[in-house]
Symmetry: C2
Subunit: 126 residues, 2 copies
């Protein structure tokens, strides 16, 4: 079984985008994007730092297919994204790329550095 | 700012390990390992599949330094691990490797495939 892990580092993002600093806005963006991509959310957890931790937000959505994780640094105009999907019986690679593109676009980044990692898992027990 | 993203695919794991199928056991393993590594947990979310989804567990711990994610497939003896840390003012790379090693060891894997990705983030606003 292959899993596909997509990462992206976004730079030059709109620091005024609600999802950069508002945990509820980032949660709504992520859950909507997961559903629109045809993936299945199992639950989610988002945290706004505040205080000495800056005003960024960090969060994740657990998926039946694996996970989405997002971390924002509004003071740097930066965001990181992770989408991991396991392609056991269905190839979710297209859905994973749509999900990443949709979440990234919400931050209107000037620069995007992307990486794709194929993660090989056993097809049967050892 | 550099972030370090560690991934591992574990094969030949002990399918009888509690953390393979029990969400509470996996949660305790992960949160204890985060604290022992000197990282700071902000919250966590774990889900046991059950039914048609198999008897695996999926979960994440949000960290002040970024995140830990774990997915188990007991029927395949397989586990995936992700540890992502941002090294903004302190280099958390050693703590990230200790965390991954500690969680991996709990599954007594016969095979471990590891990968390290350096993730470059802006040091200042665009």
């Amino acid at each position: 079984m292959l899993g596909l892990h997509l990462t992206a580092e976004l730079g030059g993002c709109d620091a005024a985008a609600a999802a950069m600093t508002d945990a509820a806005a980032l949660r709504a963006l992520c859950v909507d994007a997961v559903r629109d991509a045809g993936l299945r959310p199992l639950g989610e957890l988002f945290h706004a730092f505040g205080g000495d931790g800056g005003n960024g937000v960090t969060g994740m959505v657990l998926l039946a297919e694996s996970h989405l994780a997002v971390h924002t640094w509004p003071e740097l105009g930066a965001v990181t994204l992770d989408v991991f999907v396991c392609n056991r019986s269905v190839d979710h690679s297209g859905a994973a790329r749509r999900l990443l593109d949709r979440v990234a676009a919400a931050f209107t980044p000037a620069r995007v550095q992307r990486h794709e990692l194929q993660r090989d898992l056993p097809r049967r027990p050892a």
